[in-house]
Assembly symmetry: C2
Homo-oligomer: 445 residues x 2
């Protein structure tokens, strides 16, 4: 089968270059949710979808949805997609590749005249990065029936609320509730995405199957000591919160190093007053801690807090922890993971699995239906940066595997699983369903 595929890679790379022109900052890629460049990117994606003969709809949360109808009456729906918003000064592959590669898949199925036992929906979500508003995954949460209506009051840095921005964009807020897909009809979600990390490159592999999207907790740590003149306070009389924070940051790193699959990062640090000749009075730093298993993350977080508190006590410093954000891990569907692995093997790839440390629309979609993710090698693990890069060969390989997966996918058992899921998430106690034929467990959120 492999050699019969058209040259998807070249077209998708060309289209990704075209999409990169839709930006609010000339010379950079900056495409924030509901911005003018988002509108232009939606029109461009619509054009690509229409060229693939998909029926296209723009919904009331700013998603573009292209649909390839199954010939089977009353067929379920399989969803492919990713996002087209970006961070500021972004690369051109994060998000965009998942959308445009999915259009290639649909176009090829249409071209071949293959009959699928499900309809295909290709979605270009509008808000995954969460840069403009203090809210994120608005598009995928709306599809999954889990839109946060309170976020409509969230404001961007110009004081424009999400509701105002949606209206200005031509969206009808009353229509958002109707975007939710029927969980009984949604049989699966597959997202391809650049890895945004260095693992596949180090493994010399184009592709990998994601096991789970890591859970994450973020906190601010505030350490207070005693300011003093850098020349006049002997070392033994200091309560230096920056020297203390240095010991704490080393402890954060050590705790993550000694726990497999845990990563922990201090990305922000501020010392005040911040003068070369003044022992700081106060230091604030951030901790971002992630693990693909919730219990592991929670244990690591507790150990980090305990070690930091102990350092503070020994040094006569006071310490405070402000939780900023916490998200549970999203395990990918074991059945879909296996089928994706089979597609990789059929296409001649070594099957390799890895967790995703970054968040994705699949997190929101997992509430609706079983999800899987295919990771694509990116150069040096760089993302959220103009230096983001993939190769045309890897793009080709990813689309081939996605296509193979879709052509082999059979929705029946998944539909049953999602019915169970829909019940378990309707406000009643969660029921852990075991659909033994597929080894599928409902996804926790």
């Amino acid at each position: 089968m492999r050699d019969n595929f058209p040259r998807f890679g070249e077209r998708v790379m060309r289209r990704l270059d075209e999409l990169a022109a839709d930006t609010d900052e000339p010379g950079k890629i900056t495409r924030l949710f509901l911005s003018p460049s988002h509108k232009r990117a939606m029109a461009r994606v619509r054009g690509f979808m229409e060229a693939a003969a998909l029926s296209v709809e723009e919904d009331d949360i700013g998603n573009v949805v292209g649909r390839l109808e199954s010939s089977v009456p009353d067929a379920p729906v399989f969803i492919l997609g990713s996002h087209i918003d970006s961070v500021r000064d972004a690369g051109r592959y994060d998000g965009g590749f998942g959308v445009l590669s999915a259009i290639e898949v649909a176009d090829e199925i249409r071209r071949r005249g293959d009959k699928l036992p499900f309809s295909l929906e290709i979605v270009a979500f509008g808000d995954e990065e969460g840069v403009r508003f203090p809210a994120t995954l608005s598009g995928s949460r709306a599809l999954a029936g889990n839109f946060d209506f309170e976020s409509l009051g969230a404001k961007d840095e110009n004081g424009v609320s999400l509701a105002e921005a949606l209206r200005g964009f031509g969206c009808n807020i009353e229509g958002i509730g109707k975007i939710a897909r029927d969980p009984r009809r949604a049989c699966g979600y597959l997202e391809s995405h650049i890895e945004q990390g260095p693992v596949l490159e180090a493994e010399n592999l184009a592709l990998g199957v994601v096991t789970a999207i890591a859970g994450m907790c973020r906190l601010n740590v505030t350490v207070e000591g005693e300011a003093g003149h850098a020349g006049t306070v002997p070392m033994g009389r200091r309560k230096d919160p920056l020297a203390g924070s240095a010991a704490m940051i080393s402890a954060v790193e050590d705790e993550a190093r000694r726990t497999p699959d845990v990563v922990a990062t201090v990305g922000v640090i501020e010392a005040s007053p911040g003068a070369i000749n003044v022992i700081p009075a106060k230091v604030r730093f951030s901790v971002d801690l992630r693990a693909p298993v919730d219990e592991v993350r929670e244990r690591a977080k507790a150990k980090v807090e305990a070690r930091l508190s102990s350092i503070a006590t020994k040094r006569g410093l006071s310490i405070g922890f402000t939780p900023l954000d916490e998200a549970k891990a999203t395990p990918c569907d074991p059945g879909m993971m296996r089928e994706l692995s089979d597609a990789l093997a059929r296409q001649g790839h070594r099957v390799f699995t890895l967790p995703s440390g970054a968040g994705h629309d699949a997190m929101a979609m997992a509430r609706l239906c079983p999800v899987a993710m295919l990771f694509l090698r990116c150069k040096a693990g760089i993302s959220h940066n103009p230096a983001e890069a993939i190769t045309v060969e890897d793009a080709q390989a990813a689309i081939e595997v996605m296509l193979d997966f879709i052509l082999h996918f059979r929705p029946t058992a998944h539909a049953e699983a999602t019915e169970e899921r829909s019940v378990s998430q309707g406000g009643r106690p969660a029921v852990v369903a075991q659909i033994s034929s597929l080894d599928t467990t409902p996804l926790s959120r």
Copy 2:
């Protein structure tokens, strides 16, 4: 003698409160060099000097000089003083105490009708803090004949050069060269100053004799690694410059802790890009390292640089050191230290010596003549802060000791030493003079 002294402490505290009203920021004390509040403070100090019957002159670098003439013909000059500029949002004692306490000493000598074998000059220097211009000690360097004429081009944050500011203040730049005192006539300089550190308070002592003004070196350390997504780069694949900087800051602290009399401070740290979910690409931090003995400082600096470089190498980080500033230590004159100690003992104090970690006008004056400094206990070691505090009793004690010192001081041998100093600093090779009767060595600059 002790009980006969007037209540200097009360008057000096009252006058320090009055001086605090001269500020450019209402509600705070901010008195920058050549500012309107500096002009008002000069007028106020002139008033205090005139009330003590001193003859007063304002010179062309913004110093106020009050003179009490000796009755001895052709007598040498002993200089007492400190500065009246301040940092932003300062306390009221740093600098001001040294000036106003010196006026009390002169006033008391005049009042008693004591005949001194030297004239007294009380100087209120205008630029010790170096806040407004990237230049410092302008006033004391001018007196010492070491004014940096290149600094006239230095600009403040509004783009006003020091030369322009001086002219606007009414100073004649051509007159600056004439401010230099004759080293053959200057027999000593004594400065009283708040300690700006916690040592005297911890020793339960009002006063201490300064052994040396510590030498200092300042550098910026730049650590570069590899930015990455906080979720996607496994710990083992990171080149995290902030984790590396944490280990380095701990090494700076450790090196200072293990070396007596050395202090080292990291007061500034910046991580870029500085986002909670991004492993930083680059970290910059400052190091301020001080020691009262130059060789000790130089050795500690070399060890710190070696340890930091070794940490960088182990972690695959690159490191750069940018020297910002380096100042040699200024040892106080052993003969004057001994005489100051004798005055302390006569006034019933335990003689305690300590180095000064902060810089002072005495550093510049040491080029002109032998110098000594008397440190005064301040509350909790706090300075450069509105919370700066001293007690009226300690102020009284300091003025009593200064007065006792002046009344016992005999200039002859010092005058010989300064002649030697003047020769050794005239551009010819330095000559280390030993005036054995006083155990005085010329001061290195």
